[in-house]
Symmetry: none
Amino acid sequence: MLSVVEETGRPRRPHTGRRRNEAAREAILDATMDLMYADDGAEITIDAIAHAAGVGRQTIYRWWPSKGAVAAEAMARHAQAIVPVTKTGSFRADLLAFISDSFAGLADDRLRGALRRLAAGAQSDEHVAQVLAEFTAQRRAALRQVLEQGVASGDLGPGANLPMLVDMAYGLLWYRVLVGHAPLDADAARDLTSCLLAAGRP
Amino acid sequence: MLSVVEETGRPRRPHTGRRRNEAAREAILDATMDLMYADDGAEITIDAIAHAAGVGRQTIYRWWPSKGAVAAEAMARHAQAIVPVTKTGSFRADLLAFISDSFAGLADDRLRGALRRLAAGAQSDEHVAQVLAEFTAQRRAALRQVLEQGVASGDLGPGANLPMLVDMAYGLLWYRVLVGHAPLDADAARDLTSCLLAAGRP
Amino acid sequence: MLSVVEETGRPRRPHTGRRRNEAAREAILDATMDLMYADDGAEITIDAIAHAAGVGRQTIYRWWPSKGAVAAEAMARHAQAIVPVTKTGSFRADLLAFISDSFAGLADDRLRGALRRLAAGAQSDEHVAQVLAEFTAQRRAALRQVLEQGVASGDLGPGANLPMLVDMAYGLLWYRVLVGHAPLDADAARDLTSCLLAAGRP
Amino acid sequence: MLSVVEETGRPRRPHTGRRRNEAAREAILDATMDLMYADDGAEITIDAIAHAAGVGRQTIYRWWPSKGAVAAEAMARHAQAIVPVTKTGSFRADLLAFISDSFAGLADDRLRGALRRLAAGAQSDEHVAQVLAEFTAQRRAALRQVLEQGVASGDLGPGANLPMLVDMAYGLLWYRVLVGHAPLDADAARDLTSCLLAAGRP
DNA sequence: AGTTAATCGAGACGGTACGTCAGGTCTTGGC
DNA sequence: GCCAAGACCTGACGTACCGTCTCGATTAACT
């Protein structure tokens, strides 16, 4: 529909006067995500975000304290429960499904790239660090929920150190994502599942 | 007046003519480490490294392809034999010692900060990524060596998935370093050791 | 505390937003002229201009294509109406006055130095060449105007080759400025005037 | 002859031990002239000269105090009486021939470029200035010699201001070379000759 | 209905760091 | 001692972003 898009391809947002323009805000977050997903390894700059969003730089600085804060909010918007917890009856099958799904999602180069940028950004930007912390906490909680089913079913011992098991699992995932020395494929998912079961065995 | 040091306090390195000046190389790496250890949060600049090392910028660019590569090599130089493999006779004690020592080294905020910078830099700089890969490969090899003693002693089963165990251990370490949601203290070392033993049990 | 000048002594120019800041432009040109007039023989640096003008380097690059172009424009600004055309009634007196004034202005070492830099710069910088061309064209036009009075009064023949006379006059001037083998004093002005009159005689 | 030139095209000069290598000296001067004649407008660098001459930079610095000094000496070597003084019997013809020949030599873009570089370099390098002074003095002497024939023959008056005529002639030449606003063609030579004759007429 | 006020896209501004280039000095190893 | 080679320190270059500032427009909210 031509009325929304100029021939430059830039959406011509309606002015909202003296109230914040939500369309601009979303354009900024969308553009930021696009850039984080981009696999060209290019550094993300405020200029690039502003230009991609068709926005003035000042509009970004008006609403976010730092580039990391923008990236963080953009990531947080997209970090919704990617891996739903399934229940098949068999604990091992449930755990394997959870881990396999988690790994499978990371087969996408662009998503893996975004996570790497997120982790890297968190090391120097407090806002990003917070988003990473919340994001990983959600994931840990989800996995822990799965493992607690294992305790309930007796597949794991009552004294199993669940936080440690969770951290070992996600530790392996992030370690391989960030270092890249080994894949996160179906075999890895199976092996990790076995190790976790053995480590938590009664 | 000392013959080695000018009144400026800068070591007056002897010129080595048309051959690479090893003293300059080491001054650069030392200065880089000093700056990485500095926890003032300041970004490390090529200018800062050059100035601190008493070196021209071009001398850095001549030998390293990027700032990250310098930092990486500086890190690698200091990461030698941080954790010596001990042998006490008991496999569990050896493994616990290795992990405890590894964790203990990371109690230093500045070293942890350097590792975080290293991991973050690896996500956008290919040269840093390579050094991180080599560095972590060394550490994995060291841990694997320890675990193989466990296989030999029968504490671990002959079919234990050693690469997976190693990645789980270092995964946990890096995960907690980079996310910071849980400590790497003595309890964590003990718990991790137990989990690894259980996961690799015959 | 003065409202215009900070304690650093730097004029705190008002920001003009998204429009070019004329005050900055003039500060740049003024600083450039100051540096060109400085006879310390130091090479003029973009950094030096920017610093002296209290301006970022990029602001210079934004508006001028090369260092020479800045210098050229700075020169051109100061070269306005250095030699006013006078009219006394006697053509010979007018011509002598014009030439004498032109020569007298070059008695200043610093102005002569600036012209030498201008001519030298024009040989390798197209932008400077253009400014030099325009500047010299203005001067030639002024002299030609004087000579045309001579044609009108009959002191010069109707077929006098005015462009050649003009070029001979300014040629001598520049030749002596650039080579420095002979002075541009009152005697020289008188002799040149005589020669021009003789060469253009009816 | 192939024994002198490597396949790289670089002359393999014989080493002269602890005595200065004249072949190297000439290679440097030749390379410098080649670069000055080059019409690509590129700045001449010591590196470029050294590389073109197949010489170490130090060998240049050992024998010349500055880049300009090299260029100056190189120019001086080639500045031998380019314009021979002819004698046809007619003073006007002799003068026209001298001026025409002088102009004709400057039809070559590369020679004109070299002269422009020479004049430009003289403004900031004392050594080049000296060479330019000597070179132009030679030319002025040659032209003066021609004009003195005119005085002897009566074509010029006994009180003709020869230095002024000479400077007007060469002034015009250099002015047009350096500013480039008008050509140095046959017409110009003829007009200049006429003006000089008129200006020096008894 | 007119005034005020805040947002928006835009882009100039003063800076800082970048990576490159050239200058001039120094040393090696061969002759 | 001269020469080719090339590393060294220095410093200027032109570029990329940063975060700030102002503009003119647009519109909402308040007279």
